[in-house]
Symmetry: C2
Subunit: 276 residues, 2 copies
C-alpha cells in the first residue's frame, strides 16, 4: 500500500448526490484540499436497503477510494454512517469520519429541553445510530426518530417547494412539533435542500450534520498533521457507478459549483483489486 501523506486527497462517498452538501462544507472550510468523491448512483438509494447490503456497498465504495490513495475517508451518507462506520473504521488503514457523530454532538449541545428529534431514511432511523451517539454524550436526552422516506424522491424530482412537499412535511413532522423537542437533526444529506419547508413544519432549531462533519474532518487532519499546505493545483475528481448525466445536472445544485472531472466506475470490481 501507498504511504499516507498530507498531499493525498480526502475521499468522500455517498449513495448518490446527497453527500455533495457535505463536500460543499468541506471545500468551504478546507479549500486547499484535493477531493475524490464517489456517488454510488447505480445502487442509490441506500435508505431502503437492509444494513448488511448497505455495509457491503459501503465497503466496496471505500475500497475503490482506497485504491486511488486517500488520507481520510468521509462517509457523507447518513444511512451508511449509521450502519457501517464501525466496519470501515476497522478495515481501513486511514481515519474514517461519518456524519452521525458530528450531528449528534451538535444536537446534544444545542438542546436546552433535553429533547431531540432526528429525521432520516428508514434504515438510518431503524438503526437508532443517532440515539446511541447522543445518549453516549448525555444519557438524560430523549431522542425521537422519524423516518421520512418521501423526502429524497421529492428533492430528486425537484419538487422542493409547493403544496406536495409542504403537505408531506406536515404529515411526517406534526408529531414532532407537539412533543416538546427543541431541536431537529437533519439526518440525511438531502434534507438541507428543503430546510425552509422543514423549518415551517416544525418551527424549532435545525441541526445540519454537513457543516459539523467538515469541522470534524479539519480537526482529525490537523491532529494527525495531515492538512495540506499549498493551494496550488487543487483537484476535485468525481466518480459515479451509473452514467454521469443526471448526477452532473442535479449535483451542481447540491454542490453550488460546476462538476467537471467525472468518470464512471464499477465498484463491485474493487473488492478483488484492492489489496489492503
Amino acid at each position: 500500500m501507498q504511504r499516507v501523506s498530507a498531499e493525498m486527497p480526502i475521499g468522500i462517498f455517498d449513495s448518490g448526490i446527497g453527500g455533495l452538501t457535505v463536500m460543499k462544507e468541506i471545500t468551504r472550510l478546507l479549500p486547499e484540499e484535493d477531493i475524490i468523491y464517489l456517488g454510488d448512483t447505480a445502487r442509490v438509494p441506500y435508505g431502503i436497503r437492509s444494513p448488511e447490503t448497505v455495509r457491503k456497498y459501503s465497503l466496496e465504495n471505500a475500497y475503490f477510494l482506497m485504491s486511488r490513495g486517500i488520507k481520510i475517508l468521509v462517509i457523507a451518507c447518513n444511512t451508511s454512517s449509521s450502519v457501517s462506520l464501525d466496519l470501515l473504521s476497522e478495515k481501513l488503514p486511514v481515519p474514517v469520519t461519518g456524519v452521525v457523530g458530528p450531528g449528534a454532538r451538535a444536537a446534544a449541545s444545542a438542546t436546552k429541553l433535553k429533547r431531540v428529534a432526528v429525521i432520516g431514511t428508514e434504515t438510518t432511523i431503524n438503526s437508532r445510530a443517532y440515539e446511541r451517539a447522543i445518549k453516549e454524550i448525555d444519557d438524560s436526552i430523549s431522542v425521537t426518530g422519524v423516518a421520512c422516506p418521501l423526502f429524497v424522491p421529492l428533492i430528486e424530482e425537484g419538487w422542493t417547494e409547493g403544496e406536495v412537499v409542504r403537505l408531506t412535511a406536515e404529515k411526517y413532522l406534526s408529531p414532532v412539533r407537539y412533543n416538546g423537542v427543541d431541536c431537529l437533526v437533519l439526518g440525511c444529506t438531502h434534507y438541507p435542500i428543503i430546510k425552509d419547508v422543514i423549518e415551517d413544519a416544525v418551527k424549532i432549531r435545525l441541526i445540519d450534520s454537513a457543516a459539523e462533519t467538515a469541522k470534524e474532518v479539519r480537526r482529525v487532519l490537523k491532529d494527525a498533521g495531515m492538512l495540506r499546505r499549498s493551494r496550488a493545483d487543487v483537484s476535485r475528481e468525481f466518480f459515479v457507478t451509473d452514467s454521469p448525466g443526471k448526477f452532473v445536472s442535479a449535483g451542481e445544485r447540491f454542490l453550488g459549483r460546476k462538476i467537471l472531472n467525472i468518470s464512471r466506475i464499477n465498484p463491485e470490481k474493487t473488492l478483488q483489486v484492492y489489496s489492503g
Copy 2:
C-alpha cells in the same frame, strides 16, 4: 443445459415487488403453472437508472432464473422490458415476454381518437418503447409519454390515498387530460395499486399491462405445446436480492396472497455460474 419441458416453471423477474401484479394475473389465468419470481430488491428502483445499467441487471436476473430451469421468461418490469427485451430474447434459449408489447397492443385496439398517453418511470418514458410498439401496430396513433417518478415511492410508502397522492397525480396528469387522449397506459407495474387516484385525475380509460401480459404468456406457451397439464403440487418460489422482510409484507398486498417460500440470493454471481 437442461432440456426445456412443459413441467418447468415460468420465470418472472422485476426490480422489486411491482411485478407481483403481473404474477397475480398469470396465476389467475394459469393456476396450474409453477412459478419462480425474482425481485431485485438490493438494486431497486430501475426506473432512475441508465439503460446500460438496467440491461446489466436484467441479464443477471435472467441468468439466475435460467440456472434454475425455466420454460419461459417474463420481464414483469416496464423499465426492463423497455430497454432489455431485445437483449434477453437474443441471449436466452427460451421465449421471453415483456409487459410493453401486450400493453401497447391493448392500447392500439382501445383508442378511438387515435391518441394514447403512457405513464411510467423516467427510463421507460425516455426509451419511447411504448411509442415504438404502438406505432408499429398503427402509425397514425399519436403517443404522449409522461414520467411520474414519485408514484413508486408514494405507493411503496403506502400513501395510496389522500391529499398528497391526489395532488401529485393532478400535477403529473393534468396535461394529459386536456390534450384529447382517450386511453392511458399504466406503464409501470406499481400503478394499478393507485388506479382509482389516476382515474380520478384523467377521467379516461386505463390500460393495465399486467392482465394483457398474462394472456400473452398463455398464448406463447400454448403455441409451443408447453402448458403444464396437472394441477397437483403447484409450486410458487420467491427470490430477492436484499433481506426478505419488507418484500414479504408489502408484496402480499400486491400479490393478494401469502408469500411463503422465499430466499435471498446474489445475482451478480450468476453471470459466472450460468453456462448458457
